[in-house]
Symmetry: C2
Subunit: 338 residues, 2 copies
């Protein structure tokens, strides 16, 4: 680490027309923040990117305030408290929160809400399995999907951060879990490292055919991160009273103009099934319960996580763009100030 500290921000500078481009952002030099009473200085070490950011950039997602041109790009980050005037976060504390795309920031821990990271956890874990990603997987799979012992569960985008954790949580619940992911490497990881029962490489296999073969009794839970064709395959293979958990729709996010809806939605009637969306922030009151459960699974070794890390603050736009070509395995992070 360089001893010379300097600060930069990345601003959201233009709404994307179609795909996200580096030109949608501005990297600017800014002064190192100075501390007011009650504040801490955070040195950011990791920033996380996620597909939902595209919806924020397009002002399409309306469950939170839209990003305004000129805003510091919104995003989760984790870092270390370098200086502290706040007894809640002494110097050296590992913290995470919606730090934004900044190298350094000063906050009282409320204007930008900080959480102390458990000492047994790592900074990357705090942005992955113990962060919004893990919480999304936890509430989406367990509260909406409700896998039971012996359930058959299909997860799309299973090689990504949320999907890989959601699938493992279903496995821990006693379900049989099949992941859909792009490429052999991701599929091998799901089976060998994460204990998925099977994996379908949608890039080289016929997903509809493979789901039929692997799930002859149908799907009790489908956890959807992608939308599009795979959602339709799942809808065509629902078991009775199945739950379709709508977590994301990454196949939609890069399409401009009208996008086809799920042709097979009417199988929800024939199968007496349910398709349900959720926003993880609604579960804020139950985050502590979930973090505790996730920590226990981590400690027992039942739950694993993985990060794909790009080096360098200026790589943030590219890291975000990479998500949409499936370049990441597990959580895509960018390492900063290291």
């Amino acid at each position: 680490m360089s001893t010379e500290r300097y600060n930069q921000h990345i601003l959201f500078s233009a709404r994307p027309q179609g795909e996200i481009e580096p030109a949608n952002f501005d990297l600017i030099d800014v002064p190192m923040p100075s501390l007011n009473t009650g504040e801490v200085l955070v040195e950011v070490h990791y920033l996380a990117v996620e597909p939902a950011m595209k919806g924020w950039m397009e002002a399409r997602a309306d469950y939170m305030a839209p990003l305004q041109i000129g805003d510091v790009m919104r995003g989760q980050g984790a870092g270390i408290v370098l200086q502290s005037q706040n007894p809640k976060f002494p110097t050296g504390t590992m913290v995470s929160g919606p730090l934004g795309w900044r190298r350094y920031l000063a906050t009282d821990g409320r204007s930008i809400p900080l959480r102390a990271i458990p000492p047994s956890a790592s900074l990357p874990a705090a942005l992955n399995v113990l962060g919004i990603t893990g919480l999304t997987a936890y509430f989406g799979m367990l509260d909406i999907g409700k896998p039971q012992m012996g359930s058959t569960v299909l997860v799309s985008g299973a090689g990504g951060a949320t999907g890989s954790i959601a699938g493992q949580l279903a496995r821990i619940s006693g379900a049989r879990v099949i992941g859909v992911a792009g490429g052999r490497e991701k599929c091998d990881w799901l089976i060998s490292d994460l204990g998925f029962d099977a994996a379908i490489d949608y890039k080289s296999e016929n997903t509809a055919q493979r789901v039929l073969e692997l799930c002859p009794d149908g799907l009790d839970v489908y956890f959807d991160n992608v939308g599009g064709d795979i959602l339709d395959v799942a809808l065509n293979n629902l078991a009775e009273r199945a739950r379709v958990v709508l977590c994301g729709g990454i196949s939609r996010y890069n399409v401009s103009g009208p996008i086809a809806g799920p042709v097979n939605y009417f199988n929800l009637v024939y199968r007496r099934a349910r398709m349900e969306g959720f926003i993880v922030l609604d579960y804020a009151e139950r985050f502590p319960e979930a973090i505790e459960a996730l920590l226990q699974h981590l400690d027992s070794g039942e739950l694993r996580h993985r990060e794909t890390i790009l080096q360098g603050f200026e790589q943030l736009p590219q890291a975000l763009i990479n998500l949409f070509s499936g370049g990441n395995i597990g959580k895509q992070l960018v390492a900063v100030n290291t």
Copy 2:
């Protein structure tokens, strides 16, 4: 009524290619049935038609055995016990059940399950508000839709049998109810007779615009009988944690080939909402509870029903075809032997 009794059946003779046609059926003369021990002779007075029949005819619906070519056409009916060797159903008992498209039939009441109609009810009511139609509205609206005091509820196909009852049940629950129906006559009926708060004539009004005006805070419940564009309008106007009840999709039933899915399904995520299908037969154990509640609402005058009745057994195919042009207000029945 003619004193000369004769029996006829209508057989399902050919799967429809596109729309249902009279040529999909055969009217045949058959002998009057003779009674075996334990059986009753039922004179059918009304037979009901419903949109779901198209799915049975096409073997598209798979929640019950598909109709086979040559089967007596399946359908609910109501009639009078003319002769009885079964103490459960004495002569003169009003009965309903899946009688099929027959003028007369003999059954022990189990091979074709019969239910005695409460003496205070009429035969048409037994096929409408107290039959599968009313039960569908009851469980779909109350169990899946769950309207509350002050909820905003939109019902499509509101001029039809199920929609008109579902909307009234929501109103009785204290909800504000808006119906979508085709034509001024249906809309006036919804408001003046059934106590809907508003009605949208989708044939002469801009449904999207009207939903926006009438439901500025969004829909807590959307009870869908039609699918298609109106489903998409509803998905675009969901309140948080809304429930979309998938009851039917009549706009789909006459389309052959691929049918577009709901483009706006992803609003289920932004609105943390749910879209759920159901099959009323799954609730068989709770039918008595529902019938009792419906009878009470009828007796108190809070719940009204209406039937559109074609005269003559041979009119059954046409009555079924009429459903798809929205010719009926309330339940479409055919009067037989009267």
